[in-house]
Symmetry: C2
Subunit: 151 residues, 2 copies
DNA sequence: CTTGACCTTCCCACGCTGGAAAGGTTCAGG
DNA sequence: CCTGAACCTTTCCAGCGTGGGAAGGTCAAG
């Protein structure tokens, strides 16, 4: 099996298969004399594992860990479960963020006429002064708040 | 106001402000003789607009369009609404994908003992043979990078 | 043998962000 | 007035995961 067949069989593009090999996620494939990569059933299985994990939104790093556990006959299922649950938590957080965004946007859109006139609560909200200000950047001299006290 | 102050005032890092300028999202800032960027109230407002739009998950391209509309006195609110609604639809799609993933993972985790033993339905499912195989040659995005809320 | 499909490597791009290097500017305090 | 800290400047490098393409080698069918 060449890389193209492996790609078709697993749903991962040849490009990505090479990339995964290069970055060490999967081991280097065997080669023919001429340099073609050759894939065997075992490799295909691994690739499928990777694809499914990616479909579930696992990061490459997590997949690496899962692959290690997958191959480890003496693994403890608790280790796997921990990874999975951590991932679920991360996904849920993202989902909440998305929900918030959607909620805000829907609210704004609902209050927007959507006609030929220029008045639009979406734009005016985005451009307004007072909405949570955020001060995440740490500075030594604390007085950056909007007035040029210097220069 | 220098770039550092602008960063503190808007919650966008100096690095990103320069990047936005470089890529043309925002106009080039005024400069002092010595080359320091100088920001005025108007610029700060624009930056805040950008940050809020990013917080709502808009892409840079969309923000560009919104900015143009924002500055256009004669815009039609319908145009804004269209962008917002399109974005909502995209976010909702991502949310559905996330929900599916979470559902699957929770189901798998629920059936995993999570003890010292190696048996684990999570791993065996990922590694199993038969799950929709097909030939999804172009499986684009199983959830790309765009769904992180900023900051 | 030719052709076309396939393979190889290598480099570029995207969006967004951070880090670091090497150097100039500004200003407060000694 | 000088020094040092904090700030600014540009430039380059890295990463995620993916795609695109160029330049070239290989293989199997006609």
């Amino acid at each position: 099996m060449n890389i193209g067949d492996a790609a078709a069989a697993t749903g991962i593009s040849a490009k990505m298969i090479r990339y995964y090999e290069e970055t060490g996620l999967i081991g280097a494939a065997l080669r023919t004399y001429s340099g073609y990569r050759v894939y065997q059933d075992k490799d295909i299985q691994t690739l499928r594992f990777v694809r499914r994990a990616r479909d579930l939104g696992f990061t490459v790093k997590q997949i690496e860990d899962l692959l290690t556990l997958w191959r480890d006959r003496s693994r403890a299922s608790a280790d796997v479960k921990t990874i999975a649950q951590g991932h679920v938590a991360a996904l849920q957080k993202k989902m909440l963020e998305l929900q918030e965004m959607i909620g805000t946007l829907e609210h704004l859109a609902r209050n927007c006429q959507g006609d030929h006139r220029p008045d639009c609560p979406i734009l005016s909200t985005l451009g307004s002064e007072g909405v949570q200000e955020a001060v995440p950047v740490k500075r030594k001299s604390a007085l950056g708040k909007g007035f040029e006290a210097r220069r």
